[in-house]
Structure formats: structure tokens, C-alpha cells
């Protein structure tokens, strides 16, 4: 197995997040993906104290070719946004393959460090709620839709023909393994869902804000055992954007620059939903190990965690992969939900996460990390001026992670 790359120079520290922006977020907004994207981008640029003339880099996930996978998954690609805004760019990049959604931020930071750009606009747009209409969530690749049998190549051809047509099905089998091997229970996953709901009640932009009890959770309809409705995130329309700038711009940031302290990008083992030998463990583990190897900060320094929660089991496995507890110990770590509450030692998904605030596909979690580090959390602000946040994205076949700090790192 490849060892960790030891670097004296850590390129990500040359970059800061100088601005953040977000469009309206909601169910079936009936807006175009481009209009949501432009709202978020303009907000981020203004927040950074810049104009579009200052933007010389553009980065996005998953690129412009992905709506065929699942309606509304892709959003506009970088070429479309560059043209819509008539940007003049020294560097641009959009794509799907890499360390999950956050790769778009990591690429931007590296581009800034390399001198390819000074201010990179980074965005992620989803419009699954409008695109998939009122008939509920769709299976991937056209499964279950009208007409004849669709065809699929690539990795998904080994899943979709068997009715395993959603990440809910695939991750349910990780959860089943975790339950089997470690005695994890539905109540453990429920603590993650309940935590997001508590936090969403303090976030005016969250989708589901009504209180939820453990009985509510346990009584919810099953989607794919052992995952119930509240283990699955909420499809929404919305766009989130950031400006990643060179750190020497940090003193001019109108709010507070957010430093990029360390990134985790590793991929060890097979990038697959069903082929990893130990499916109790997240592919985030390798990325997390490389991230911790790139920083002097430790887990004890982390003031808030914003961990991908497309499904509750991903978050559980992320807590273990990042080392906040050992693999298999989440059932004890999460018991009662105190540790991950706003008042706990590791306030988790403080805006309500994707489970309750809406599926902004990873970018919403980094946005919230910045909000917290900038002290703008309002009613949900973590007390004691948080200085360090950890963000994780992905956690199905691949993952990426990032440590961010109040002020340049």
C-alpha cells in the first residue's frame, strides 16, 4: 500500500476561501439551473469584495455532462457558466472523477498555489427537485420510467439491472454490514437524523424544520432496509459558490478569510459501490489519513464537523474514518446524540445537513463550515468562536476531505 506523501510545502495553504454565496434553496423552485448558479456565483464574488472582472479561474463539480445519470444532478458546466457570464479565465476545470464533490475546491486551491489563477470561482448546482418532478425520487439511468428497457454501461451496469437503482440501495448494504459486524442499530443512525433536524430548526433556509423524535424516526417508512425515509437526504434545487483566492488577498477579505489547512485526496482500494472488501469502512479513511498527515492540527482541535450526509450511514462511517472514534464504535460515540449536538464536543452538520436542510451535494456542508468559522451562524452558531472545521464529501465509492480554519492557515 502506498504511504503518505510527505510535503514540506502544502499548496492548499497558499489559498483561502475569500467569499461564499448561495442561491435560494427549496423544493421545486421551478428555476433554471443556470439562474440558480448565477445567483450563487454573484453572491460569492460580492461577498469576497470582488467583481467578475477579478475572477480569473472557474471550477465546478461534476461538469456539464452529468444530467443523463439522474435528472437535475449535473447543473451547468464551466463552459456554460463562462459563456453566460462572459468571464475571461486563466484557468478552468470541471469534472466528476476525483476525490468527490470537494475536488472542485481542492483543484481551485492548487491552481491558485501554482499561479494559474488568483481568484477562482467554484460552484455546485443541483436542481433534482424540479427536474424529477412531483412523482418522487427517480431511480438512476431511467430505471422505472416509462417506455422500454434502458441500457447502461460502466460500473452501474452491474447494479441497476437488479433493481439496485439508487445510492439508497447501495449504501443500505454498507449499513447492513455495519449492523451485522458491530451491532450498530437503527437508533444509532437515528441520532444522526435527529441531530440534523434539531439544527435545521435553527436554520431559516432549511427544508424540514419541525422537531422529530426517535419514535418518529423509527416509525418512518422503509426505503431500503435498514435505511428509512429519514436516513435519506432531501432533494432540492439550489446552488452554492465560493471564491478561492491567493492567501495574500486575505487581509482584504471583507468578512473573514477561511484558510485551507489540509486536504485529503487519497483513493486506496476499489472505487466501487459494491466491490470493496470491507464495506463497513468508508473510502474516506485513506483520504482522511492523508489529510491528517498534512497538518499539525489534531482531532481535538476540530470545533465543528460538516460531514457528508446523503445518507446517515455515510456520516456514521465518516466519523469513524476521520478517527473521532474507532471503526465499529459509532454506536457508543453517537449514543444519546450529545457529542454531536451544538453543545457537544463535535457539533455536526450544524445547518441541518442534507438530511434536513437539503441536498446541496457536499457544497452546503463546506458553506456551513465557512459560516461557522466566520461567526455568522446566528441561532445555530457554535459557541466559543470556532477556529477549525473538518469537511468531508463523498463516501460511496470515493471521498475527499478538507480542514478549514478561521483566517489563513
Amino acid at each position: 500500500m502506498t504511504g503518505h506523501v510527505k510535503h514540506r510545502h502544502r499548496s492548499e495553504r497558499d489559498a483561502v476561501i475569500s467569499g461564499i454565496g448561495q442561491s435560494d434553496v427549496g423544493r421545486r423552485l421551478d428555476r433554471t439551473a443556470m439562474s440558480l448558479t448565477v445567483d450563487a456565483c454573484l453572491a460569492a464574488v460580492a461577498d469576497a469584495g470582488l467583481t467578475l472582472n477579478d475572477i480569473d479561474g472557474l471550477s465546478s463539480y461534476p461538469g456539464g455532462l452529468m444530467d443523463g445519470l439522474n435528472p437535475g444532478f449535473g447543473g451547468p458546466g464551466t463552459d456554460a457558466v463562462q459563456d453566460a457570464l462572459r468571464l475571461n479565465l486563466n484557468w478552468h476545470s470541471g469534472g466528476y472523477e476525483g476525490p468527490a464533490q470537494i475536488q472542485a475546491l481542492i483543484n481551485a486551491a492548487i491552481a491558485v498555489s501554482a499561479g494559474l489563477a488568483r481568484h477562482v470561482l467554484v460552484y455546485r448546482t443541483v436542481w433534482e427537485s424540479t427536474a424529477q418532478g412531483s412523482g418522487g425520487r427517480q431511480g438512476m439511468g431511467g430505471a422505472g420510467s416509462g417506455g422500454g428497457r434502458a441500457r447502461m454501461g460502466g460500473m452501474l451496469q452491474y447494479l441497476l439491472p437488479f433493481g439496485a437503482v439508487s445510492a439508497a440501495n447501495w449504501l443500505a448494504m454498507n449499513a447492513q454490514r455495519h449492523f451485522h459486524t458491530y451491532g450498530t442499530t437503527r437508533e444509532t443512525l437515528g441520532e444522526i437524523a435527529l441531530n440534523t433536524r434539531r439544527n435545521a430548526g435553527l436554520n431559516p433556509k432549511a427544508i424540514f424544520r419541525d422537531p422529530m423524535s426517535m419514535d418518529d424516526y423509527l416509525g418512518a417508512r422503509m426505503i431500503s432496509t435498514p435505511l428509512c425515509l429519514f436516513d435519506c437526504d432531501v432533494p432540492v434545487d439550489g446552488s452554492t459558490a465560493f471564491v478561492v483566492s491567493h492567501r495574500d488577498y486575505a487581509p482584504d477579505v471583507p468578512t473573514t478569510a477561511v484558510g485551507i489547512n489540509a486536504v485529503g485526496t487519497a483513493l486506496h482500494g476499489r472505487p466501487s459501490w459494491d466491490q470493496r472488501p470491507n464495506m463497513e469502512e468508508s473510502p474516506l479513511r485513506a483520504a482522511a489519513d492523508t489529510m491528517w498527515a498534512r497538518t499539525e492540527l489534531t482531532r481535538a482541535d476540530v470545533d465543528t464537523a460538516q460531514l457528508y450526509d446523503g445518507f446517515s450511514i455515510i456520516t456514521l462511517m465518516a466519523i469513524e474514518a476521520l478517527g473521532f472514534c474507532a471503526v465499529g464504535e459509532a454506536k457508543d460515540y453517537l449514543k444519546g446524540g450529545h457529542r454531536i449536538s451544538l453543545e457537544g464536543e463535535l457539533p455536526l452538520n450544524t445547518a441541518g445537513g442534507q438530511l434536513s436542510a437539503g441536498r446541496l451535494h457536499g457544497f452546503g456542508l463546506l458553506h456551513e463550515a465557512c459560516v461557522q468559522l466566520r461567526g455568522q451562524g446566528g441561532e445555530r452558531q457554535v459557541s466559543g468562536k470556532p477556529e477549525v472545521a473538518v469537511v468531508a464529501n463523498g463516501g460511496g465509492p470515493v471521498a475527499g476531505t478538507m480542514l478549514v480554519t478561521r483566517g489563513a492557515s
Binding site: G136, R137, Q138, G139, G141, G142, A143, G144, S145, G146, G147, G148, R149, A150, R151, M152, G153, M155, L156, Q157, Y158, L159, L160, P161, F162, G163, A164, V165, S166, A168, N169, A172, M173, N174, Q176, R177, H180, R221, M222, I223, S224, T225, P226, L227, D274, Q275, P277, M279
Partner: protein, 139 residues
């Protein structure tokens, strides 16, 4: 057998995956295997991950294995067809560190009785030009 899924997505059959998706016509499950070092390779890619030989051939396996994991799907992706069971089957030709695993369905076992570790054997469901491996409990 009537297809339980009204609009099942099928694989795009090509030269690389043809044997896996069609050998069921002869009642066999064929997995790519390295003829030099014996490693089993799935999904088929035409190269051995272990010794990098390109001398690989679809090779019949026993069709027996154990359930590594499973889920009972209740979400009506396909309309109101009732619940169904998706399984990950570790075939007996694999090992703990190099499992030989395929995603499939378990047919004929009550959802409450499905369990990790259950012994299963393959059979095939013909859909157009492909023969999908399916599994049933070995009783």
C-alpha cells in the same frame, strides 16, 4: 419467467462483458480469470490486476456463494411491485481479502428470513439478449 421490474435497466453488452451477461444461456456463470496466475477479475476489464497479464478468459464458476450483505427495497422505483431483495453474493471462488462478489437478487426467500452468511446458488433470468444471474437459497 415474467420480469418483476416493468422497466428494468439492462447492461450494454460489449466484447468485454459479453460472457458475463450471456453465459447464463448455457446455465453457467462465467467470470474473467487470469490464465497465468489464476486471479479472478470482476467486473471484467481484460487485464489481470495481480500480474498484469492480458491472458484472461471468462471461466465458469460453481455459481455457489454466501450473502455478504443485502437490502430489502421498499421504495417504489418501479411502481407498486412490492418489496424485493438485493444481495451482494461472495462467490466461493473468492477469498476474504479478494472477494469475488456480484450484486444480484435473492429470489424465493421471505424478506424476514434473509441473512448475511446464507448459502445461495445461481440461476438465470433471460431479458432480451442478456441472462441475468439471480440467486436462491441452498436449502
Amino acid at each position: 419467467m415474467e420480469d418483476i421490474f416493468p422497466a428494468r435497466v439492462l447492461p450494454t453488452v460489449d466484447r468485454q462483458n459479453r460472457q458475463f451477461w450471456t453465459s447464463g444461456e448455457e446455465g453457467k456463470l462465467c467470470i474473467e480469470r487470469c490464465t497465468d496466475c489464476g486471479a479472478w477479475i470482476h467486473p471484467p476489464v481484460g487485464i489481470c490486476y495481480s500480474c498484469h497479464s492480458s491472458s484472461v478468459e471468462p471461466t465458469a464458476v460453481s455459481g455457489r456463494g454466501t450473502i455478504y450483505s443485502f437490502t430489502i427495497n421498499h421504495q417504489p422505483w418501479f411502481g407498486d411491485i412490492g418489496s424485493y431483495c438485493v444481495v451482494l453474493v461472495d462467490l466461493e471462488e473468492g477469498s476474504a481479502t479478494q472477494p469475488l462478489r456480484i450484486t444480484s437478487n435473492l429470489i424465493g426467500t421471505e424478506p424476514d428470513n434473509v441473512a448475511i452468511g446464507m448459502r445461495v446458488e445461481v440461476f438465470f433470468l433471460n431479458c432480451d439478449d442478456v441472462w441475468l444471474p439471480q440467486f436462491r437459497e441452498i436449502r
